[in-house]
Amino acid sequence: MAEPLLRVEKLVRRFGGITATDNVSLDVAAGELHAIIGPNGAGKTTLISQLTGHLEPHSGSVSLGGRDITYLPAYRRCALGLARSFQITSLLPDFTAADNVALAAQAHAGHSFRFFANARKEKGLRDAAHAALDRVGLLHRADVLVSRLSHGERRQIELAVALASKPKLLLLDEPMAGLGVTESQRMVQLLQELRKEVSIVLVEHDMPAVFALADRISVLVYGRVIASGDPAAIRANDDVKRAYLGDQHVVTHHV
């Protein structure tokens, strides 16, 4: 196998006496959809934050495409092709959907120390925004303020924003959080489409979705990766069953 797209090596992050990320190592190959699951408090969000640069690890390293990014600030990682969505929707509420997405495109189209020309009339940026909105099926809502969109629509905009930066790797922190059944199904469909174009790290609680989508799954418990492998192997793994899946009968029944 070639150099993995994302390589995490022996990452450690402590909060006081608690080790939230305990010697985590994992590789994500180009083109792979790698899911990270684990019970509440397993340290999934802490791990994601270290990948995106919102939190610094105490030791270990993160590299993207062979380049060490362990201590790069968030905006630099983004320039290298790492995009994220937030677990709790985090958009610009007083901007329209198109503005939100166009800003992401703008961040990757040269510097923004341009003071005079109307940015909303830059065709390249608008086209990119509309393309990304179309991708998530929200083109018809382009000119609506984000604060007036439904929760489900905002989750989709999150994805459009991430896509507009044309990332190599997409980090999705619980994209299904708070979605209804039909909305979840739409999101799974969408992710099925996107995985053909971009590598994805997916942190998600929705087990049927994870097992339907993932090429590989890493299971995080108390900050440690206790198992990593394809969905069938994870489903068969005794440690995983005991630590995590035992109380989720839905998974053991789901084939």
Binding site: T52, P73, Y75, C78, A83, S90, A107, F113, R114, R120
Partner: protein, 314 residues
């Protein structure tokens, strides 16, 4: 978007009034009103500059009056040293404001929220005390500017009408610039940072760099107002930098409507006219002014512009 709205109509009326004011003053022989409105226009310029930072950038600067002082002292000190040319005084005023903004901004932007307000206030108070200590330039008592900036025949600042129109042109120029800026790439980034800084970092914008540039632009615009103010009063003293003056500017912005293009101009006009009118009625004018402002802020969210906007819908 509707072509005609109440707020647009009121704004147009106000602007027309400002343009035609010297004519009225001439015809009625009321010279005082021109002097008053020159001050109004200059402070409207200062309020507009603060609005760029506070309204669009979400950075609550409580030390904006410092730039009035810096711009003013640049003119006063150079005049004192025998350099009377406006072509030197005004660029120096702008450069000094930019430099101050760059240093103060770089330090202040390490903090957020209340701390940002307090640190900008603290730096402005420092500037105030530094000015008070300038014995050569009048110290506490201030400095008389014996000769207004000289633009070698291009425009005569000694002429009331010409000076008024210079101030008005500066105001319109600055508002035009702000209008272009807030719709530019830069403006969208700054407004995005106001809305959600973490998100903007995550999509790849280095927040502080953009905020600092906004801080500097805003400071330079206010420095221009300071240079005009010193010419208007023929005098500059530390008092223009006092924190209450920064508070006045904030009130003008909030009164008129934060984050609206003409709100601060409207706020300055209303605030200063009210002050003038009420102080003629009674010595205790602040007792009326205070509750009045409170009412507008409490019930007219979005200031006067917000109120006018609702009229339109209602």
């Amino acid at each position: 978007m509707k072509a005609f709205t109440v707020s647009k109509a009121v704004t147009a009326l106000m602007l027309a009034g400002l343009v035609l004011l010297p004519l009225y003053s001439q015809l009625s022989g009321n010279i005082f009103i021109l002097t008053l409105f020159t001050r109004v226009v200059i402070l409207a310029l200062a309020a507009a500059s603060l609005n760029l930072m506070m309204g669009y950038g979400g950075m609550m600067s409580f030390g904006h009056a410092a730039y009035l002082g810096i711009g003013g002292y640049a003119v006063g000190m150079l005049a004192q040293e025998g350099i009377g040319s406006g072509f030197i005084q005004f660029p120096v005023a702008l450069a000094a404001s930019a430099l101050y903004a760059l240093v103060i901004g770089a330090l202040s932007l390490r903090t957020r929220g209340v701390y940002f307000i307090m640190i900008t206030l603290a730096f402005a108070q420092m500037a105030y005390y530094v000015a008070s200590g300038l014995a050569r330039y009048g110290g506490d008592d201030g400095l008389t500017v014996y000769k207004r900036s000289d633009f070698s025949g291009l425009i005569n600042l000694g002429n009331r009408t010409q000076f008024y129109y210079l101030c008005l042109a500066c105001l319109f120029g600055v508002v035009f610039l702000i209008w272009r800026i807030v719709n530019s790439r830069f403006g969208l980034v700054v407004q995005g940072l106001r809305s959600n800084e973490q998100r903007m970092q995550a999509i790849g914008f280095p927040a502080k760099r953009y905020q600092l540039v906004c801080f500097v632009i805003s400071g330079m615009m206010c420095g221009l107002a300071g240079a005009l103010l010193a010419n208007n009063t023929d005098f500059i003293s530390p008092a223009v930098m006092y924190w209450t003056r920064s508070g006045d500017l904030m009130v003008m912005v909030i009164l008129g409507g934060m984050g609206t293009l003409f709100g601060p101009v409207m706020g300055a006009v209303v605030y200063l006219l009210l002050e003038e009118f009420l102080s003629q009625l009674t010595e205790y004018w602040a007792l009326i002014m205070g509750p009045l402002l409170l009412l507008i802020v409490l019930f007219g969210r979005g200031g006067i512009m917000g109120l006018l906007g609702r009229l339109n819908r209602g």
